[in-house]
Amino acid sequence: MSGLAREDPDRLFVVTAGRADAAGPVLDLVSLIVGGVDAPPGTPSEHARILRLCRYHPSSVAELSAHLRTPVSVLKVLLRDLARTGLVAVRAPESARAPDRLPDLETLRQVLVGLHEL
């Protein structure tokens, strides 16, 4: 049951190789991560666990963070590693509200339709 968040802080430093950030896609809390491949031999265990979780269906950054018990910013470093090597694809939240702007009306209408059908 121990996740990265419960481990020694130095462990977080190790799994991210001490990187504050990694080149790769911008990731939001609700970016959807799409896997579909098995972890190649030699894949670090933290990365392999991510690949297992999004092997058969997309998973949001938030859900992966919860399931792996890994803080969001640490998880993002690992996800950028996987995205750079093409092992996962990222579906960014297309209709996210831009700063200082309202969500567009068409988006709101679609959300309303979905909520009414709950």
């Binding site: 049951m1 968040a5 802080p9 130095d10 977080l12 430093f13 991210t16 001490g18 990187r19 504050a20 950030d21 939001d28 809390l29 609700v30 970016s31 959807l32 666990r49 297992r52 979780l53 058969y56 269906h57 997309p58 998973s59 949001s60 938030a62 859900e63 963070s65 919860a66 399931h67 803080p71 969001v72 910013s73 640490v74 470093v77 579906r91 939240p93 297309e94 209709s95 996210a96 509200r97 831009a98 700063p99 200082d100 309202l102 969500p103 009306l105 988006t107 709101l108 209408r109 679609q110 959300v111 309303l112 339709v113 979905g114 909520l115 009414h116 709950l118």
Partner: protein
């Protein structure tokens, strides 16, 4: 715990556009109850690291100096249609959390401030911060046993702008929580209309 299937419905393969709505409130006000009432998955919990100064917050290496703390938040999910999915995040209202707001909840459609009328003062700060961040919101009073002051008194006590909707809800009831979300989205749509001068 390595399988998302263990927590119910996996996300559809066609899902490609995700939205966020944030439910902000003090400890014990019913945020996670509300998330659980409408979520298709059992609420999950995750956390983010922040330094005590609230700077360098996207810097996981900061943990190496152990001068950090974490903020936990619960969330759930609602599939809207084949492509769209809505995530509901319960967010603590306390001061240290707001350093993380833009990083975690920038781009959210809007927010619900969940209020316990017995502890109204806990909502002042959250309302002030939401206004500061330019995040549209509504206020929902969670019904608890005990005094139920009229909403116009709650509105006055919170010093809410007339245009901000104030409603009552029962965070334990799915239909009530659904109504809260619908009211928020309808409020967001109404903000597109030019403000009418009284």
């Amino acid at each position: 715990m390595d399988s998302t299937n263990s927590d119910g419905v996996p996300l559809r393969a066609t899902a490609r556009d995700a939205f966020k709505i944030v439910i902000v409130g003090g400890f014990g006000v019913g945020k996670t109850t509300m998330v659980g009432s409408v979520s298709e998955i059992r609420p999950l919990s995750t956390e983010e690291i922040m330094t005590r100064a609230g700077v360098g917050i996207d810097d996981p290496t900061a943990v190496a100096d152990k001068n950090t703390t974490t903020v936990a938040f619960d969330f759930g999910r609602i599939t809207l249609d084949a492509e769209r999915v809505l995530y509901l995040f319960g967010a603590p209202g306390q001061q240290r959390f707001w350093f993380l707001w833009d990083q975690l909840f920038g781009g959210s459609l809007g927010a619900v401030v969940l209020v316990d009328v017995r502890r109204l003062a806990e909502s002042f700060y959250a309302i002030d911060r939401l206004e500061h961040h330019g995040m549209p919101f509504i206020v929902a009073v969670n019904r608890f046993d005990g005094p139920r002051p009229p909403l116009d008194r709650v509105r006055a006590a919170l010093d809410l702008q007339p245009r901000v909707p104030l409603i009552e809800c029962d965070a334990r009831e799915r239909d009530s929580c659904k109504t809260v979300l619908i009211d928020l989205v309808e409020h967001l749509a109404s903000l597109h209309a030019p403000e009418t001068t009284p």
